[in-house]
Structures are given as structure tokens and as C-alpha cells.
Amino acid sequence: MEMELAGIRKSYKKKKVLRNISLSTKRGSCVGILGGNGSGKSTLLSILAGVQKADGGSFLYQGEDLLQNSSRIPSVLGYVPQGNPLIEELNAWDNLRMWYDRATLLRELEQGSLAMLGIGNFLKTPVHKMSGGMKKRLSIGCAVVARPKILVLDEPSAALDLICKENIYCYLEQYKAEGGIVLLATHDMQELELCEQCYILKEGVLESYQYDGDLHHLAGKL
């Protein structure tokens, strides 16, 4: 397997948020993690992104434990948090320039991830004047320009309209097709359709789940 989580644990004081989280996946696949509010989805993703430290366990990518070698995380993994990690006063170009050099951005705008996300259309628009969909696309753009192997998204299409969602899903399909691994936390049933593997995170325990379109059954599991 290309990516493997094994025995990841995390506690806040006495509260155990994650208990021995384990899963594995191959290249070009999408893993969806479902769970109610406060179930620990965001905590799990932030541990994988190197934002928080796990109490134990490993996060293997091509056999290398990224939790032990966290300096490697930025080059392997792109992280899109729930909100938009953007500076409101600056435009799209300035936000992208914080992370990448000019030549890389121009190349990606012409025929790479930024072109696929359609960011070239609002490159000079200040973030505070952008719609929710534009902001989310730009947030994803900030995470993927360096072409990470794993993309971790925390509820990527929350509060977006259908057109924006469709735009983002198209991009994620393309990303998978290029061999990338997508790991997303979601409440959205549409997003589950992108996923080859689904898991439910409940009371810190991760369980495999096969979504068959029965929303009532799913709600009962959460």
C-alpha cells in the first residue's frame, strides 16, 4: 500500500479523541472520513498535516513514517483546512506567491492545477471580494501547486453552491487520475461519491463503512 495509518492515538487531557486509528490506501484513490461534530475528524487530519502531534502511531507513505520525520510533510502532503487559509487584504496572486515562486505559478496557471481550478480568472481579485467558491478553489490551489502526493481536505465543499462543488469535484477526480491520494473529512453525501473507501469515526474509533446511498442507515451509524 502507498499510504498507511497505523495505531494513531490522541488525547486531550483525559479525553481520548483518537483510539488506534488505522487504515491503508493505494495511489489514485480517495478516502472519506465521516463523523458527527466533535468526533475527531479534524484532529486526525491536522495530525496527518503536521499541525498537531499524535500521542502514538505512525503515518507511512512509501514506507517512510512522516510522523517521525515531520519536516518531510510539506513536500509530500497538501492540507486544506476547513476555513480558508488566505490573507483577506491580498489578491489571489499575492496569496499564492507566499508559497511558490513566480515561474512555478506561471507554469501551473497555464496548464497545471491552477488552470484546472480556474484561478487565472480571478488572479487580481482581493480575497475579501471573492465568493465562497473562489476562496475554496484558491485555498486548494495554495495546497496543490507543489504537486503533493497526498491531499488532505477538511470538509472542502461545506457551504458552497452546486457549481462550485462540481468544479472542486472535477479537480479532485483529475487529481486522483494523476495518481494522487485524497483524504477528506466530510458531512456531504455528494463528496462520498468521490471516495473508494469510506470510514466512520465515532468516539475515537475508525470503522470501515460501505456507503450504498441509504442516508437513513448512515445517519444511524453516526
Binding site: 491536522s46 503536521g50 510539506p74 492540507y79 496569496n95 506567491r97 507566499m98 508559497w99 495554495c142 495546497a143
Partner: protein
């Protein structure tokens, strides 16, 4: 390019977008403060004349000698520069005292002059001051009353002694002339007593002139309040940005460094904006402070450089307050309360010597107190004293605390 540097560049670009607004606010505030300061200095409100003690005189003042004495005090004696004696009735004195128009009331008992003339010293002058006026002023006034009483009794003794000797020796013809001569001699000694000492005024506080002291304190207060103006820029929490940056390898320290340095650049630019009109005024001698008298605008350039550690410390303090607050309103309130409270205790409005000792100590150990002391010292001296190290220590503490708060924010989401 390093991502920390890129982040600093982005933050710099961000804060500079607010510079035109900053510029307008600063110019308006500076204009108001400048007009007030010039009016203050030009009208002599800060001069000694404005600080005379008004003393009400009540009681029996019918005696012509007493009237002559009071006229002499108010027209010839050096005390006239400090004390204004106002004869009034009991009722007038009571009302004026209650309104705070009088510093104290001196009551002359009935028949005092007759008692003095007959050689009896059984009538006492009463000096009445309010409870809240215990201080150096009240103490000095009490001493002056004691000195006056002593002078009267000593003069009496001298005059009666001389008269007895003259009578014993049968020198009746010289009696009145000698009495007048001795009286005049005693009055001359009292009136000319200022010839016995020299007064050296060291300044309002920290050895500075009033103008120099308030130049420093108003400048620091302006810097302190600039935190309010910048609140909308930094108080809204960008937790997602912080978490994203952490995932990109830029930790809490790198984030705080990038944002703080950008904010510091904005503060320094604001100081430059304040100093340009000051430089212009000093160059044309429209305004000066005694410490820089006759030196033109040259000392201002050196002063700008020595001011930088204090600017950096204030920027760090404001940055920490931004980190601690979540909303713009709470950010503005916190900046305002801290600015006013710390500024007041540290002597930005009144020199701290005016306050009780416990408040003086508290004010001096506060960051604002250390900054004021450092800037006051730097106005006249070139050495970097202990106050300067205090400022640097506070700077380091505030930045370290900001990093801890940011770390906690990233961890908690």
C-alpha cells in the same frame, strides 16, 4: 526564497495597504496634540505663574501694621511668585475652599496684633488645609506659617529687648528712631532672605524640563494608542491560516516573527510621519524644548534612532494584546484600557512623583514606565542605561508570550 521571508513580505504588503488610513489618523491626532502643546507652552500654562498657591486670609485684619505686612509680602517678598494671599470673610473662604478655589485658609485670631504689641504670644495663627492635600505643598505651607510665627516672636524679643536697654540707660530721645531702625532692619532681613540661598531647579521629573518631559510622554502615548487604530488589522483570528502555515513548515515562531516585523515596520513608518512635521518645526524654531535649545533639528535624528527600542517594545505589547483577543471590539477595548491605564500609572499625563509611593513603584516597573524612563534618559544622554535593558527585556517577554499564545491557538484550532 524562504517561506518565512515570503510570509513576512505578504504581511508587509498587507499592513502597508492600511498605511494611508494610518497616515490620515496620525496626522489628525498629531495636529490636535501639536496645537494643544503649542498653546500650552505659549500661554505659559506650564510656567510657574500658573501654579500659584491661593491662600485665603480670614479673621482680624483691622490692624494697620498687619495690613502693611501683607502688602509688603504681596509686593516685595519672593513668596509672591508662589503664594497669592486673598483677604476674605469666613463665609467667602468656606465657599471658595469647598469649590477648590483655595489651597488653604489662614485664620488670624481676633486681638492677635494687640497681643503681639503687648508682648503676649498667646494667640495662634491657624492654617487649615484639606485632608487630601497632604503633600510637599502642605508641608511647605506649614513651615512658612511656623517661620512667620518665629520671625514675629524673635522680632518682638529683639525690639522689646532694645527698648528696655534704651530705657535703662535713659536714652529716651533715641527710643522711637532706634525702634523704627530695628523694625526696618528686621523687615529687610526677612524680605531679602532669598540672598542666603541659590535654587537650582532640576526639572519636573527624571531631570527634564516640563516641555521635555511631556514631549516624551505624549509621543509614547501616541504610539501606545496607535494600537487601537490597528486593531481591525490583527485582532480577527486566522486560525486556519496558522494551521495551514504549520502544515507548510512555518511554525508559531515564524508566523509571529513575520507578522510582528511587518507591524513594526508600520509603526516605524508612523513615527517617521510624526517626526517629519516635528523636524520642520524644530528646524524653523517654531517649537523647541529646553534640552535642545539652540540645536535646531539635529537632536531629533538621534532621538529617532534611540526611540526605536521603545517602538519595538510597544509594537510587541500591542501584538500580544491582539493575540489575546478574538474580536475587533474587544481588541479595541483592551488596547484602549491598557493604553490609558498603563500610561496614567507610568506618568504619561502627570509625572509619577505626583502619585503615592506604591503607584510610583507599580508605574516604574510597568513596560510603559520602563519606556518612559528610557526615552527620558535618551533625550539628554547618549548612554544605554538600565531602563533600556528593561525595554529590551519586555520586548523579548512579549514576543515569547505571543508565540506561546499562537502555539496554543494552532493546537486548539
Amino acid at each position: 526564497m524562504n517561506e518565512n521571508l515570503r510570509y513576512f513580505g505578504a504581511q508587509l504588503k498587507r499592513v502597508m495597504k492600511t498605511f494611508p488610513r494610518q497616515l490620515i489618523v496620525n496626522l489628525v491626532v498629531c495636529l490636535c496634540v501639536g496645537v494643544l502643546l503649542v498653546a500650552f507652552i505659549r500661554d505659559g500654562l506650564l510656567s510657574q505663574d500658573g501654579q500659584k498657591y491661593r491662600i485665603g486670609l480670614v479673621g482680624d485684619m483691622s490692624d494697620s501694621y498687619l495690613g502693611f505686612g501683607l502688602t509688603a509680602l504681596q509686593s516685595l517678598d519672593d513668596s509672591r511668585f508662589m503664594i497669592e494671599l486673598i483677604p476674605m470673610t469666613d463665609q467667602e473662604a468656606r465657599e471658595a475652599f469647598e469649590k477648590g478655589d483655595l489651597y488653604a485658609v489662614v485664620q488670624i485670631p481676633e486681638g492677635m496684633m494687640e497681643a503681639i504689641e503687648s508682648g503676649a504670644n498667646d494667640r495662634r495663627i491657624s492654617y487649615i488645609a484639606a485632608e487630601g492635600q497632604k503633600g510637599i505643598g502642605t508641608m511647605v505651607m506649614g513651615q512658612i506659617v511656623d517661620v512667620a510665627s518665629t520671625l514675629v516672636t524673635r522680632s518682638q524679643s529683639a525690639i522689646f529687648g532694645m527698648q528696655s536697654i534704651l530705657l535703662e540707660r535713659g536714652m529716651r530721645e533715641e527710643f522711637w528712631e532706634a525702634t523704627n531702625t530695628l523694625n526696618l532692619l528686621l523687615i529687610e532681613l526677612v524680605v531679602n532672605r532669598s540672598g542666603f540661598y541659590d535654587v537650582e531647579v532640576l526639572g519636573i521629573a527624571n531631570g527634564l524640563s516640563t516641555e521635555g518631559y511631556y514631549f516624551c510622554s505624549i509621543l509614547l502615548f501616541l504610539l501606545l494608542l496607535s494600537g487601537i487604530n490597528n486593531s481591525p488589522l490583527f485582532t480577527h483570528k486566522q486560525t486556519d491560516m496558522s494551521r495551514f502555515m504549520k502544515s507548510r513548515g512555518v511554525g508559531a515562531a515564524g508566523q509571529v516573527a513575520g507578522e510582528y516585523l511587518a507591524y513594526l515596520c508600520l509603526m516605524i513608518l508612523c513615527v517617521v510621519v510624526i517626526f517629519i512635521p516635528l523636524f520642520w518645526c524644530l528646524e524653523r524654531e517654531l517649537f523647541t524644548i529646553p534640552e535642545w535649545e539652540g540645536m535646531g533639528a539635529q537632536p531629533l535624528v538621534r532621538f529617532f534612532i534611540v526611540l526605536l527600542p521603545a517602538v519595538a517594545m510597544f509594537a510587541a505589547l500591542q501584538f500580544l494584546l491582539y493575540e489575546l483577543t478574538a474580536g475587533v471590539v474587544s481588541g479595541i477595548l483592551l488596547q484602549f484600557i491598557c493604553g490609558i491605564g498603563m500610561g496614567y500609572l507610568s506618568g504619561f499625563f502627570y509625572p509619577s512623583a505626583f502619585f503615592p509611593e506604591i503607584m510610583q513603584r507599580l508605574g516604574s516597573v510597568m513596560p510603559t514606565g520602563a519606556a518612559l524612563r528610557y526615552v527620558n534618559d535618551s533625550l539628554v544622554e547618549e548612554k544605554f542605561g538600565t531602563a533600556g535593558f528593561g525595554v529590551l527585556l519586555y520586548l523579548a517577554v512579549f514576543l515569547a508570550l505571543s508565540v506561546l499564545v499562537r502555539k496554543n491557538g494552532i493546537r486548539r484550532g
